[in-house]
C-alpha cells in the first residue's frame, strides 16, 4: 500500500542542492535574531556601477554640452554670407549646366504629367520670342509651352505698363456691360403651375 507520510528526516536539502524537498520558507523561529550586517564598503564594492563617480559625471556633462553645441545652430552669430565674384560665377555655371542637363523637361506644363514638372514654370507671364511651341515631356506627350524664360526680365518689367488709357478702356467696357446686363431678365410668358381640370 502507499504511504501518506514519512517521518524520515530530510538532511539533504540543506546541502545546497535545490530539489523538490528544499524549504521555500526559512524557519521563522530560528532566524528572527539573525540580522545581517553588511559593511557599507562591501556594499559599494558589490555594486560598482550604480553610484556615479565624480569624474564620470563631469565627463558626461561635457559630452552633453558638446552634443548640444554641435546640434544647435546659432542664428545670431552667423556671419553674413557674401559671395565672391568668382564663387558667384562658378555657381551660376553649375546651375545652368544642371538646368541644361534637364533640357526640355524644364518647359513641361505644371499639370504634373512629368516628373521634372516641379522645376518648370520658370520665368514670368511675359512669353515673347519662344512663345508657344510644342515640347515633349518624359511621358512622351506633346505639351504647348506658354511660359519661357526671357533674357532680361527687368527690362520688360520696368516698362510703363499698362497704358492708363487701356485701363480706362476696360473700366468703361465693364460699366457699359453691367448696365446692359440689367436688360437681361426672365420674361414671364406662361404659368409654370397649371390646374388640372378633370371634368
Amino acid at each position: 500500500m502507499g504511504c501518506c507520510y514519512s517521518c524520515k528526516e530530510d538532511n539533504n536539502s540543506q546541502s545546497g542542492d535545490v530539489n523538490e524537498r528544499t524549504h521555500l520558507l526559512v524557519d521563522p523561529v530560528s532566524n528572527i535574531n539573525v540580522i545581517q550586517r553588511v559593511h557599507s564598503d562591501d556594499f559599494i564594492a558589490q555594486y560598482p556601477n550604480s553610484l556615479p563617480k565624480k569624474s564620470d559625471e563631469q565627463s558626461a556633462l561635457n559630452r552633453i554640452l558638446q552634443e548640444t553645441a554641435t546640434n544647435v545652430i546659432d542664428v545670431a552669430a552667423l556671419d553674413s554670407h557674401n559671395l565672391e565674384q568668382h564663387e558667384y560665377l562658378e555657381r551660376m555655371r553649375q546651375y545652368t549646366q544642371r538646368l541644361g542637363a534637364m533640357g526640355a523637361n524644364v518647359n513641361t506644363r505644371w499639370t504634373g504629367n512629368s516628373s521634372a514638372g516641379g522645376a518648370g514654370g520658370s520665368g514670368t507671364l511675359l512669353a515673347p520670342s519662344a512663345m508657344g511651341g510644342p515640347s515633349t515631356s518624359p511621358s512622351g506627350r506633346m505639351h504647348l509651352c506658354l511660359l519661357t524664360d526671357i533674357p532680361a526680365p527687368e527690362k520688360v518689367l520696368a516698362e510703363d505698363h499698362p497704358n492708363p488709357e487701356d485701363l480706362i478702356l476696360i473700366s468703361n467696357a465693364l460699366e457699359k456691360a453691367s448696365k446692359a446686363l440689367s436688360d437681361l431678365k426672365v420674361e414671364h410668358r406662361e404659368d409654370l403651375v397649371v390646374p388640372f381640370r378633370i371634368p
Binding site: P128, M131, P162, D166, L174, K185
Partner: protein, 92 residues
C-alpha cells in the same frame, strides 16, 4: 434683350488695336464674345479675375494684364460681369 450687350461688344471691338472682346458672368459662363476672343476661355478668365481680386480684398478689383510678344489681354471683373479685351501689342 441682349441687344445692348451686343452693342457694347461691337463698340469696343471697333476701337483701334482691339482684336477681341469677351464678357463672362459671375459663374464664368460666356455672355458674349467678338473677334479673337473665344467663348471657351470665359471660365478661366473669370477665375483669373477672381483670384487676382483676392490679393487685396479691400481694394477694388484689379486689372490683370497678360502680355505676349504680339498681343495683350486685359481682364477685369465687376460685380456682375467680367470683361476681357484683346489688343495688339503696339509697344513691341
Amino acid at each position: 434683350m441682349e441687344e445692348n450687350l451686343d452693342k457694347c461688344l461691337e463698340e469696343i471691338h471697333q476701337l483701334p488695336n482691339v482684336i477681341g472682346v469677351m464678357y463672362a458672368d459671375r459663374q464664368g459662363l460666356c455672355l458674349g464674345a467678338k473677334g479673337h476672343a473665344s467663348n471657351e476661355s470665359a471660365g478661366i478668365i473669370t477665375a483669373i479675375a477672381d483670384q487676382a481680386a483676392k490679393i487685396e480684398p479691400n481694394s477694388k478689383p484689379p486689372v490683370v494684364l497678360l502680355e505676349s510678344e504680339t498681343k495683350q489681354c486685359f481682364i477685369q471683373k465687376a460685380d456682375t460681369v467680367t470683361a476681357a479685351i484683346y489688343k495688339t501689342n503696339v509697344t513691341s
